[in-house]
């Protein structure tokens, strides 16, 4: 059985660059712009976007829950104890790199036979189920809020991910489980339910960042109350529900385009799912905005 290409060092490097102190030597090797410093990292990866599978795929848009358990189960299936932050992008990239390296250059020698087949199978499952299902969405949001360094990092990460999917988990008809069994889309029947869904990417089909809410306030001439996103969003809705829903509808429409761009090639099917979710959100919000306006 020939080994699919493994870019484990690249994955490992990209994981390391998602940390607060990117190694300048690694940045140099990848010809990335100079990293902007720890404060920018906090802005991008702590305050604005959240590089966790559970945040992107969970019904509540929060760390943990069923989406988190799904990733933890994968670790256990490998015979490993799930580490802290088991579904963090960097952790998963490290895991992916380790599996790839074990195939081609194990601790002492490359794996052979059944062990190698098992490693390849695990790597394919990881990239398809636990990375392809949400990472492009996260990368798209990073591109929107990050500095040139983060944008370049997001771009190359997306490229590598696409390449790895192509190499070891060729496109298939079925969706990743997390998407196939995804929670229902946005529902505006209740304001609380609507807000919950808007802040859960898998339901809204988009990532609403703090920066988005600040921008919405600015565009609509509303006061932006400082706090976590739910608090800020509700404060905006309190001031102009129709305007805010309409603004978010347009954001969702923009995300349709983003999904198409960030899910190129072998990720096309996944991208279509996300685009459909965003498109549905845009439609629902537009209708809700109109209703509110009326």
């Amino acid at each position: 059985m020939s080994a699919p290409r493994s870019r484990h060092e690249l994955c490992r490097a990209l994981a390391a660059l998602a940390g607060p102190s990117p190694d300048p030597e690694v940045c140099r090797l990848l010809e990335l712009p100079a990293p902007p410093g720890p404060a920018a990292h906090t802005d991008v990866f702590v305050l604005e976007t959240h590089p966790y599978a559970s945040v992107h795929l969970g019904a509540e848009g929060m760390i943990g829950g069923e989406a988190g358990d799904r990733v933890a189960g994968f670790w256990r299936a490998l015979g490993a104890v799930p580490p802290p932050d088991a579904d963090h992008l960097a952790t998963l990239l490290e895991l992916y790199a380790a599996l790839g390296q074990a195939e081609t250059a194990g601790v002492r020698e490359p794996a052979t036979g059944r062990r190698r087949a098992a490693l390849m199978s695990a790597r394919a499952a990881l990239v398809w189920e636990h990375l392809a299902s949400w990472v492009p969405v996260h990368l798209a949001s990073v591109e929107r809020v990050g500095e040139p360094f983060h944008q370049a990092w997001a771009t190359i990460t997306a490229e590598v991910l696409a390449g790895e999917v192509e190499a070891c988990a060729p496109p298939r008809a079925e969706l990743p489980t997390a998407l196939a069994l995804a929670p229902p889309p946005l529902d505006v029947a209740s304001r609380r339910g609507c807000v919950d869904a808007l802040l859960a990417p898998v339901r809204a089909g988009m990532v609403v960042t703090r920066a988005d809410l600040v921008q919405a306030g600015a565009d609509l001439g509303l006061g932006v109350r400082r706090g976590e996103r739910r608090f800020t969003l509700e404060a905006l809705l309190d001031q102009d529900a129709s305007g805010v829903l309409g603004w978010l509808s347009r954001l969702a429409a923009d995300w349709v385009e983003l999904h198409e761009r960030w899910h190129a090639g072998p990720l096309g099917g996944v991208g279509q799912w996300w685009a459909a979710r965003a498109r549905a959100t845009a439609t629902i919000l537009e209708e809700a905005a109109s209703a509110k306006a009326a």
Partner: protein, 1014 residues
């Protein structure tokens, strides 16, 4: 700007994008490999970490900033050419930085492609550049003018020198005086090349330095496993046990030291037995400072502990020890069962309690017990080494390594991960293009009848044998060797080397001036590490590799398109490499091929023409190094080009327990299973690419060769060990049969310097240790090494310093203790030397120590010599009474190297070896270095470095030790001179190995066979 690239990527086609990602992956992998070697980054043009190495793909044009041009950022372009260090036997990889502009060697660093040294070197490797650029080195062939030793020289051509030597050698061969030709090897570094040259001449003229070096250690290993060197897998050991004054941190084995450090980092415990606080001891978890010579008693106490606590690997012992043979031969009272053997084993070693070992060694029993417990916990991850030190210092020192290996053999730590391997399994000597047969003569000047079990040539007895009238030498080569200085009893060497009736012609093949070269007829310059071709392999871990030494300027010029056909064209002056020299000399000895010599130095590709080094190594690498042709092809190179490029090749990694390997069926033709499971076959041996020397057990009476052994009643035949029994020989039938039945088992022989043998005012002098940054002779012209270490004071404990001071009031009459820097006279059996004292608690009371390497000298009037670390001495004698008084020490001087004007040291130590009589161990033949000495304050007028010797006394000591032997004439069980299975560099034919007629008659009379014949 960076984003542009990614934008571009997203717009390119998929294939191109993937290729770009692959490039990034490759650079990251390379960076990780570099980073894992550690170290800070180098900010210059190479951009690589300081502790890492230039990547091989950039070795043709490596750029660095010229440090001397600072602050100007001037780039220097280098060709990086690998070679192998020639300063000690470890054969570490070097990388020569050849300036592309000047075609000179600017520096030498480690070769990262070398599996043994892995790019790391001790100080001696980089200092090779000092030796290359030494302003005092010998650059042209020289011939003496006036009497030998008078110190005047004239330059001659290589042709003149070789013609003279060739004529002498040819005449000796034609007149059947083959034993008058001898090559005495110092630093071999060439895995048998010279042996094969001598074999091609049909002479048994190989002489080595080994009996002043490692014969004792080798003997102990050889009797156990048929292979005379250990290969400890230190890196994976749990417990590392070293009987060593210098081994792991000094002259030898930087490759071992780095692996010991790795093991320590992984939690391994290090136990060091060394009377002196050596560098190795400072890194030990347990430093034991025993009474010199008691080491075997300690080893046996540990063995007893393993036996009595059941902490030994009984399955391994039952499987691989020759216990059945032992019981049959020595304990007919017992049944031949393993239970009975275990009982006998415990009984045999029962007297070696910790209390007994404590009484012998002076180390308290509780400490010995604690150490034994640590050893017991090692299991099969017990790596151990003894090379010189105690094995080289003491009468019976060979039992030190033998008892040490017994610990390994009890633990089953033989050829295991973290254990100790036979070296031949971790070493590869490629079969060369020609393998001449062994000679038809036996040279008694090197292998005398008195020492049938000597592990190596009795090299240090040569002057005594010549004085005995046992023979003479027509042509005597000292080849990278300095016996006057390195051997004991150097003045006896001077006496015979200056006697032209004993030594007709002495040619010193040497890269540097040395004390022996002063007494030569020709001084012929041969190359240092970057000036010669050799292959070399060494046991350093569980694997096999070969290193390639090459003249780096010749290779650099080849890369630049210039093909030289003679290494002299690239070397300084007329410095030559030995390969070409020996080929040329052999052709001159036998120009028409009538002597049958020339054919071994001819081309195979073009018969009748002279063999070139290109063909020699090209053939070897193509035909005799498994895997190398394939590796070379993968790079699009020839095997020779691969070695020129990389400098080393790893043939095998994880060789494993070769003794357990089944013998293939096709090797078992009409197999016969003889006593104790030894299996013989009629199948001829398969031609082996690896001709590493091992023991060669004799065929059975039917002429079948031993091929393996049946163990534990298995169906399969295992490869076993190259011993007569095929097993590890706890019991040596060889020792028993050849006159030493009392030492047929590992045991403890009290040293000639045992406390009971010393007079009350005598102490033991340890002289076997070296300074870590010096080599015997050739480092004296290395300015960096001389600056690091240039003197050898006498280590003395404060208690002894007080005692000596009190006993000898000296000139001040105050009976104060000796202080560091005070001059002392150290009196041996044949003379004395004067040196400065170093008062230190790093030495055991009752013992003094003085390193060799130091005390280089040049007689007044001698125009040869070097100036960095040599004193000019007044060398006088009245008959055998010699005195050497130090005159002018080293001083700054002007030369082509401006550093010589900055020479700041004035003391260079003492040449103590001159004052040592010969002490040949009657079994191993090893010179037993330890001396019983008296230490006093220096006399008025004494100067540091002064020496006095009476060679008549040295003759008397020689006679005393000779009387301890049991000669082959008396003990040979089969009419041969020496057990045929034992290792020997050249193995004369069976006819030549038979006792001479007169000895045979005597032997027959002694053994009672004469009556039968009548």
């Amino acid at each position: 700007m960076r984003l542009d690239r990614f934008v571009r990527w997203t717009r390119t086609d998929g294939g191109n994008r993937q290729a770009q990602l692959d490039e990034l992956e490759a650079s990251l992998r390379a960076a990780r490999a570099t980073a894992e070697r550690g170290g800070p980054s180098y900010p210059g043009p190479s951009g690589s970490p300081l502790s890492a190495f230039p990547p091989a793909e950039r070795w043709d044009d490596w750029v660095e900033l010229d440090s001397r041009s600072w602050p100007e950022r001037k780039e220097r372009h280098y060709l990086l050419v690998p070679t192998t260090c020639f300063n000690c036997e470890s054969a570490c990889g070097l990388l020569a930085y050849v300036d592309r502009e000047t075609l000179t060697i600017r520096k030498l660093e480690g070769n990262p492609d070398h599996p043994g040294s892995r790019g790391r070197n001790c100080a001696k490797g980089p200092a090779t550049v000092n030796q290359v650029t030494d302003p005092d080195r010998v650059r042209h062939p020289l011939r003496r003018v006036g009497p030998r030793g008078s110190g005047k020289w004239e330059r001659v051509s290589w042709d003149e020198a070789l013609d003279d030597l060739a004529a002498r050698i040819r005449r000796a061969i034609e007149e059947d005086r083959r034993n008058e030709i001898m090559v005495h090897i110092g630093r071999p570094g060439e895995d048998g090349y010279t042996e094969r040259v001598l074999a091609s001449w049909g002479v048994d003229g190989h002489n080595s330095h080994t009996n002043i070096c490692s014969s004792g250690g080798r003997t102990g290993y050889q009797f156990w496993m048929g292979i005379d060197r250990p290969s400890p897998d230190h890196a994976h050991a749990k417990v590392i046990y070293l009987i060593s004054s210098h081994l792991e941190t000094g002259h030898y084995f930087n490759p071992h030291a780095q692996r010991i450090v790795e093991a320590k980092a992984n939690g391994a415990k290090v136990i060091v037995l060394d009377t002196r606080l050596s560098n190795t001891a400072t890194h030990a978890d347990y430093w034991l400072s025993p009474v010199p010579g008691s080491e075997a008693a300690i080893n046996l106490a540990i063995c007893r502990h393993l036996l009595t606590t059941g902490a030994y690997d009984a399955a391994f012992v039952r499987r691989w020890w020759n216990w059945e043979e032992y019981l049959t031969a020595c304990r007919p009272d017992l049944p031949v069962t393993f239970d009975a053997f275990e009982h006998a084993l415990c009984e045999t070693y029962d007297r070696f309690t910790f209390e007994y070992a404590s009484a012998e060694s002076g180390i308290d029993a509780a400490t010995l017990a604690a150490v034994a417990d640590v050893v017991a916990q090692a299991g099969s991850r017990f790596s151990a080494h003894n090379w010189r030190s105690a094995a080289a210092g003491n009468l019976g020192g060979w039992q030190v390594s033998r008892t040490l290996f017994m610990i390994s053999a009890l633990l089953g730590a033989v050829a295991t991960e973290g254990g100790t391997f036979p070296n031949a399994w971790n070493k590869f000597v490629p079969r060369p293009i020609h393998v001449p047969p062994h000679p038809e003569v036996w040279n008694e000047l090197t292998w005398p009848l008195e020492y049938p079990l000597a592990q190596n040539e009795l090299s240090f007895l040569l002057p005594q044998f010549l004085k005995d009238g046992r023979g003479r030498l027509e042509v005597y080569f000292t080849r990278v060797y300095n016996p006057v200085w390195t051997n004991p009893d150097g003045m006896s060497w001077v006496e015979v080397l200056t006697d032209e009736s004993l030594v007709g012609c002495h040619a010193a093949l040497t890269p540097t001036w040395n004390e022996t070269a002063y007494f030569a007829d020709y001084v012929l310059p041969v190359g240092h590490a970057p000036e010669r071709h050799d292959t070399h392999s060494y046991e350093q871990y569980d694997g096999q590799w070969i290193g390639f030494r090459q003249p780096v300027l010749r290779e650099a010029r080849r890369r630049l398109g210039e093909n030289l056909d003679d290494t002299r064209q690239a070397n300084p002056g007329e410095v030559w490499e030995e390969n070409e020299l020996w080929i040329e000399l052999s052709w001159r000895i036998d120009p028409d091929g009538s002597l049958g010599i020339r054919r071994f130095h001819e081309s195979k590709a073009q018969p009748g023409t002279k063999l070139t080094v290109e063909e020699y190594y090209g053939w070897m690498f193509e035909h005799s190094v498994p895997g190398l042709p394939e590796a070379a092809a993968a790079e699009g190179r020839t095997p020779l080009d691969y070695m020129r490029r990389h400098g080393a090749f790893e043939i095998a990694h994880h060789v494993g327990a070769r003794h357990e390997e089944p013998v293939p069926d096709d090797e078992l033709v009409a197999p016969a299973v003889m006593g104790f499971g030894r299996v013989y076959t009629q199948a001829p041996p398969a031609p082996a690419a690896n001709i590493v020397p091992t023991g060669a057990p004799a065929p059975d009476p039917e002429g079948r060769r031993p091929v393996g052994v049946v163990v534990d009643g298995e169906e399969v035949v295992r490869r076993g060990f190259p011993t007569p029994s095929g097993r590890l020989e706890f019991y040596s039938s060889t020792l028993a049969a050849w006159g030493w039945p009392e030492h047929a088992l590992p045991g403890y022989i009290r040293s000639h310097v045992h406390p009971e043998s010393l007079a009350p005012d005598e102490m033991v002098l340890i002289s076997t240790f070296r300074l870590p940054t010096q080599i015997h002779t050739r480092s004296a012209n290395s300015k960096w090494l001389d600056e690091l270490a240039h003197t050898n004071p006498v280590w003395i404990h404060p208690a002894d310093a007080a005692r000596v001071g009190a006993a000898d009031p000296g000139t001040r009459g105050d009976r104060r203790p000796l202080a560091t820097g005070d001059l002392v006279r150290v009196e041996t059996a044949i003379g004395h030397f004067v040196a400065k004292a170093w008062v230190t608690e790093g030495i055991r009371p009752g013992v003094v120590a003085c390193s060799h390497h130091m005390g280089r000298w040049r007689p007044e009037g001698q125009t040869g010599g070097q100036n960095l670390a040599m004193s000019t001495v007044a060398l006088d004698h009245d008959g055998g009474n010699w005195s050497m008084r130090v005159g002018k020490g080293p001083q700054p001087y002007t030369s082509s190297d401006p550093d010589t004007a900055r020479l700041w040291w004035t003391e260079i130590g003492v040449h103590q070896n001159l004052t040592f009589p010969v002490h040949p161990d009657p079994i191993s033949g090893m010179h037993c270095w330890h001396q019983a000495v008296r230490v006093r304050r220096a006399a008025p007028g004494d100067a540091a470095g002064d020496v006095a010797v009476d060679t008549a006394k040295s003759r008397a000591v020689y006679a005393e030790w000779l009387a301890m032997t049991r000669g082959a004439t008396d003990v040979s069980p089969d009419g041969t001179r020496r057990p045929r299975w034992l290792m020997r560099p050249l193995k004369p034919s069976a006819a030549a190995s038979a006792l001479p007629a007169t000895a045979l008659a005597a032997n027959a009379a002694l053994t009672g066979t004469a009556d039968d014949e009548q």
